[in-house]
């Protein structure tokens, strides 16, 4: 039964996000808050309670922001646990738009990291009140005094206002909640004005359709009202309005400042995107709220169903995924090697990996992803401009005037001792130093511009391994520059395999070509004849390997106990032939392509 007090006193509401660098303890702090406020029964408690997706639990990271309402000392607190990884910065910005305050968590054993800065700046841009909190003070390596000084110096937040907690032991958490009540402003908004509610997140539930998280800005959302979605220009009947405690509890209405969920029987995933403004059909608000800018994808790759029959399922799944992850883009494309699929855009490599994994798990699809690429601008000799995010679309060199590639501005935070190593790495990746500042005597901030393609390759891993994990990285996109780029094609027995074509800087063409040819040589099963594998730029071969002709199949004995096994093997081989892709005369199991592409990660 729906139940809620007639009208909630706004002055007793606090809305805030928990933001931090990855792994600094946001979800663990959320656990303590759920526990302390009695929102989750102690028996049901588990670590990172709000990380509900399998992938999140396995990888120990938050991917989706989660909101929950708790009660503390006569106040209603809406907290949003956000992800820390740079790829999911978009989740953070949407969450911040639904709040008045941000709890900025800093691991007291690590100090300020790149996303600490980036997320703090975002909160400031949104005019949020910030409470800086040092976490993990239970760790022997924690150095709260030094970190607090750093926070004051770098972020301009007074060291004396910085709270000290351990999200693990719960120490300091009640004080933090009290500070939230004392220091964050209550929401404002006229409950009797026309309704304006901001959808800041939507997810598709296979039983209930679209479930949206929304924040009431002005007016009151009554569960009997008929709703109008201003941007989508659609009206919907409400099925259910409620709050997450974190269980979903239906309520009769939500007033200004309240955060809750809405189910309106919406099946079309595009009709309730985040950033949408919801109002009533009878007294509609005049204008929508500021929505969100759709984030620009940085990394592109082709995603193909391993079984071609799954194409419609893949399309449907991408549609649904897009609903709770608006940052994914996709459009149909086709490949000779892989059949029909979609060219998809992502915010980063982790994002790409996660989307692929979610497609496999949540939608039970077997998919293959091609090598990641960025979006190039090709200027043709006829004066036209072509945007190329699939290397095979790059026109022949003779028609090309020049190619521009996208650049990133990256900020690296690192202990000062690694400065030299980082500079070396950046130089090798065509990066240019813009600025270098000492945040403290031991911590340095370096700003570079770097081709996005270099970062997409494996920059992050290289940085981590060369700095023993101590350096952190943040980036933003910053324009295009002309560059000496070429497309390397991979030919199997003389036929180009589109899935492996890639655009690289000329200086790296040979390396890529050789590596790919060597890899395919290992992965392509020997055929009944010699198979040359070549890497080529235009018509010029830059590398060549040969898969030698096969000499035999099985020479084992075949006695009584082997007969059944043998027959099954032969039957399977017959079946297996159907799963082979033919590149000319060469039969390649799909897995070989998959493996070659996977190794690319």
């Amino acid at each position: 039964m729906a139940s809620t007090p007639a009208r909630i006193d706004q002055s007793r509401i606090r809305n805030f996000s928990i933001i931090a660098h990855i792994d600094h303890g946001k979800s663990t702090l959320s656990d303590r808050i759920l526990e302390l406020t009695g929102a989750v029964d102690a028996r049901l408690m588990r670590a990172q309670y709000l990380d509900s997706m399998d992938i999140e639990r396995e990888r120990g990271i938050t991917i989706k922001a989660q909101n929950v309402r708790v009660n503390f000392r006569d106040h209603i607190l809406h907290l949003i646990d956000t992800p820390g990884h740079v790829d999911f910065g978009y989740e953070v910005s949407r969450s911040l738009a639904a709040c008045e305050g941000a709890v900025l968590l800093v691991d007291a054993s690590q100090g300020i990291q790149a996303q600490t800065l980036a997320n703090c700046y975002q909160a400031l841009e949104n005019n949020l009140e910030i409470i800086a909190v040092l976490n993990k003070i239970d760790l022997p390596a924690a150095d709260p005094e030094r970190c607090a000084a750093e926070i004051e110096q770098v972020l301009g937040l007074a060291a004396e206002d910085v709270l000290h907690i351990s999200a693990k032991t719960g120490e300091g958490v009640p004080e933090l909640l009290q500070a939230i009540i004392d220091r964050f402003p209550a929401p404002t908004g006229d409950p009797d004005a026309p309704l304006q509610a901001l959808i800041f997140d939507s997810a598709y539930d296979q039983y209930r359709g679209v479930v949206s998280s929304l924040r009431i800005v002005t007016g009151t959302l009554d569960s009997t009202a008929k709703l109008r979605f201003l941007q989508a220009r659609q009206d919907h009947e409400i099925e259910e309005v409620g709050i997450r405690t974190p269980d979903m509890v239906p309520v009769k209405s939500l007033g200004p400042g309240e955060v809750g969920y809405l189910i309106a029987g919406i099946k079309d995933v595009r009709a309730a995107r985040s950033g949408e403004t919801v109002t009533t059909a009878i007294h509609p608000a005049e204008s929508p709220l500021d929505g969100y800018l759709d984030p620009k994808p940085m990394v592109f790759c082709g995603i193909y169903p391993i079984d071609g029959d799954d194409l419609p399922v893949l399309r449907d799944s991408l549609d649904k995924l897009k609903l709770n992850d608006a940052s994914v883009t996709f459009e149909p494309e086709s490949s000779h090697a892989l059949g029909f699929g979609f060219r998809c855009g992502f915010l980063g490599l982790l994002h790409m990996e996660i989307v692929r994994e979610r497609l496999e798990r949540e939608f039970n699809l077997a998919v293959i992803a091609t090598a990641p690429s960025v979006s190039y601008r090709a200027y043709l000799t006829d004066g036209s401009l072509l945007s190329v995010d699939n290397p095979t679309e790059l026109p022949d060199p003779s028609r090309l005037d020049r190619i521009d590639e996208p650049m990133l501005k990256i900020t690296i935070l690192s202990p000062a001792e690694f400065t030299g190593t980082i500079m070396e790495l950046c130089q090798a990746r065509r990066a240019e130093l813009q600025r270098m500042d000492y945040l403290s005597p031991t911590r340095v901030e370096m700003a570079y511009t770097i081709p996005m393609a270099e970062v997409v390759l494996d920059f992050f891993d290289a940085l981590k391994s060369r700095t023993k994990g101590y350096a952190s990285l943040d980036y933003e996109q910053t324009g295009y520059v002309t560059s000496n780029l070429v497309r390397v094609d991979i030919l199997i027995n003389g036929e180009s395999v589109d899935a492996f074509s890639t655009i690289v800087h000329r200086s790296q063409a040979e390396f890529y070509g050789r590596r790919m040819a060597e890899r395919l040589k290992e992965l392509i099963p020997r055929q009944m004849f010699d198979v040359p594998i070549q890497a080529a730029i235009g018509g010029r071969v830059i590398s060549r390997e040969t898969v030698k002709a096969k000499r035999k199949d099985v020479l084992a004995k075949c006695y009584g106990g082997d007969i059944t096994r043998k027959r099954k093997l032969l039957e399977k081989q017959k079946e297996g032939k159907k799963k082979m892709k033919s590149i000319g005369r060469v039969e390649v199991p799909q897995e070989a392509f998959v493996a070659a592409l996977r190794l690319e990660d």
Partner: protein
């Protein structure tokens, strides 16, 4: 109507030490069960052999290491088989068990054919295989067999172990061919990596496909030059010394499965016994069935199975059963089959690619009689 010819396979799952490539069902830790195991085999035979079955054409003791049984134990089983002098009764043995005395005892127990697992005469090869073997193994065999009047015997070889050179393999084969009495039957297997074995976990010991193919080609021509005839992909024999038991397998014949993990076949039904020694013994002792699994082949499956088995042998299959145009497109080192008396018989190249050739058996000839 005369009863169909049939064989009996008896599995003896006991070894002294396990070889690194071995995936057979065998144990090094159950010697205390040997007596009860023999009893169980005898009991199973008495229970399952029907009077109407008549005398078995063949009996085969496989393993494991059947030569670990005493002459007396072997005799009890042979007797329970109802084997007669007309039956081919083979016992697999490891060289270290062979002495003039044991050979005499086995012969007295009714064994008239031995199959001896030599694998290689080269110490480095045996080491790479993870197999122990006595020194001067061939001399030992010569001495053990010297006074016997076995009807026939076989020697097993393995080629393609990682440490083996062409010269190593040639040395093994030449020394075998130089024996005072040459083995009337030879089996040679390309080492295969079986999941779960120590070799499987050790990629450095995995065989090289090209070396195996080279050795197979060389071996076949060497044996043919020495007067042996190709019988099946991994078997060669002097005239009159084909293994009747194996030929039952390859011609879709019937055979009883006795002992743990033994496989049996009767008229399109294939079945296999439990792979656990204890469970096998308990089943027999309590009157329960030792069968752990079975399948009854559809007529399509039966056709395909018998065709693929026949294809591997010197008999081959009827010429028109193969899609010759399809095959020819794949031949790069000479033809896969030759035409012999209306039948297609694999060449050496064809044998190297027997699985591939089997994919060219034409399904449409399945109808009607599938007599091979």
């Amino acid at each position: 109507m005369a009863p169909r010819e049939y064989g009996i396979y008896i599995h003896i799952p006991f070894c002294r030490q396990r070889c690194d490539y071995c995936a057979f069902v065998t144990s090094t830790e159950h010697d205390d069960l040997i007596d009860r195991y023999v009893d169980a085999c005898v009991a199973q035979l008495l229970r399952e052999r029907r009077e109407s079955d008549g005398i078995p054409a063949t009996v085969f003791f496989g393993g494991g290491t059947p030569s670990r049984l005493s002459g007396d134990q072997v005799r009890r089983i042979v007797d329970a088989c109802g084997a007669e002098a007309t039956s081919e009764v083979t016992l697999e043995c490891n060289p270290e068990d062979l002495t003039a005395l044991t050979v005499h005892e086995f012969a007295a127990a009714g064994i008239n054919r031995l199959s001896i697992g030599v694998q290689s005469t080269q110490p480095n090869v045996l080491k790479s295989l993870g197999r122990r073997s006595p020194e001067n193994v061939l001399e030992g065999i010569e001495q053990a067999l010297h006074a016997s009047d076995l009807r026939s015997w076989n020697l097993d070889l393995i080629y393609g172990a990682a440490g083996e050179s062409d010269a190593d393999f040639a040395a093994t084969v030449e020394s075998v061919l130089a024996m005072a009495v040459r083995p009337p039957h030879l089996s040679a297997y390309g080492l295969s990596v079986e999941p779960g074995t120590p070799i499987a976990r050790d990629p450095l010991r995995h065989p090289n496909e090209d070396h195996q193919a080279d050795r197979y080609e060389w071996l076949d021509s060497r044996l043919v030059r020495a007067g042996y005839r190709f019988e099946e992909i991994s078997s060669w024999s002097l005239p009159g010394h084909e293994c009747r038991h194996n030929n039952l397998y390859w011609s879709g014949g019937d055979y009883l499965a006795i002992g743990t993990a033994a496989h049996g076949h009767r008229d399109g039904r294939r079945y296999w016994n439990t792979a656990s020694i204890e469970r096998y013994i308990t089943a027999i002792e309590t009157g329960a069935s030792p069968v752990a699994g079975e399948e009854t082949l559809t007529s399509d499956e039966r056709w395909f199975e018998s065709a693929t088995l026949a294809l591997r042998t010197a008999r081959g299959v009827p010429w028109e059963w193969l899609d010759h145009a399809g095959l020819r497109a794949l031949e790069s080192r000479g033809p896969f089959v030759v035409h012999r008396g209306g039948r297609a018989v694999l060449t050496v190249q064809g044998r190297l690619f027997a699985n591939r050739v089997a994919q060219f058996l034409r399904p449409f000839v399945r109808d009607g009689s599938c007599s091979l």
